[in-house]
Symmetry: C2
Subunit: 152 residues, 2 copies
């Protein structure tokens, strides 16, 4: 988990290499994302950013998300509700468990499942390029659970 300044600096370097520019709005959105501990959608990011810069437009958020995604700086997910949600990409790979009652998103990862996926794909004559695994669940009442990391 690196800091905001480093993230901005890294991204600015990537931009420069591509002949692109670091703008106020990109800096702001990057900051919002770095501070986010959840999986906000474009409107959510826009709302948060808007408080710092009321001249920002939603189009710019969308364009920036697309740019960040193409640079590998963020990951985009589309859960069941259909809207795209984003999270920064400096963490290890993980999948998501969505609480069907609250919409809360819990992250998890399972090397065993990954291995099985690769095996299945190979048996079908494929190599996996990427995958999407989402569990939709309901909280168990009271017994033996172990919470890990939660957000919305």
């Amino acid at each position: 988990m690196i800091g905001i300044e480093q993230r901005v600096a890294i991204f600015e370097g990537q931009l420069k290499q591509a002949g692109l520019r670091m703008t106020q709005q990109r800096r702001l959105i990057l900051r919002i994302l770095a501070e986010a501990h959840d999986h906000p959608d474009a409107k959510g990011i826009f709302t948060r950013a808007f408080e710092h810069d009321p001249t920002l437009s939603l189009s710019t958020v969308y364009r920036t998300m697309k740019l960040l995604e193409s640079q590998g700086a963020i990951e985009r997910h589309a859960f069941e509700d259909g809207v795209s949600r984003y999270e920064h990409a400096d963490q290890q790979h993980h999948d998501h468990l969505i609480d069907v009652e609250t919409g809360q998103v819990v992250e998890f990862s399972s090397p065993e499942i990954e291995a099985l996926q690769a095996k299945i794909a190979a048996e079908l004559g494929y190599e996996i390029v990427r995958h999407r695994l989402e569990l939709y669940g309901r909280k168990l009442s009271k017994t033996g659970r172990k919470r890990v990391k939660k957000d919305v």
Copy 2:
């Protein structure tokens, strides 16, 4: 895999119980779905049905898909392109592997993965309500593969 007539009859029974009616367009769409060996989207179903009944409207297709889904007669999937795709629901549970080059959809199922999912959810304090597992892959060149079931 049951026949079309039986499917229509079953569905008509379900409709009757709900005070709903079996119409020409519902019958037609049901037939199209039963004959489909792929995962068509609303427009695709509409196109196929339109050849049999040019008065059919796309709205009716959407309304019918929603009805069929609520009756458990079909399953709806939204892969990465965002559009909803449908398949009849009389087969055993399975997940999907999508060929990133051709869009071809291969079905597979893995009890091992299902078991792991349940275990992971339980550890996080959840019971799984449903899940979504999609593998996006590229065909291996020539060696050891075993094709199973394919469609688009």
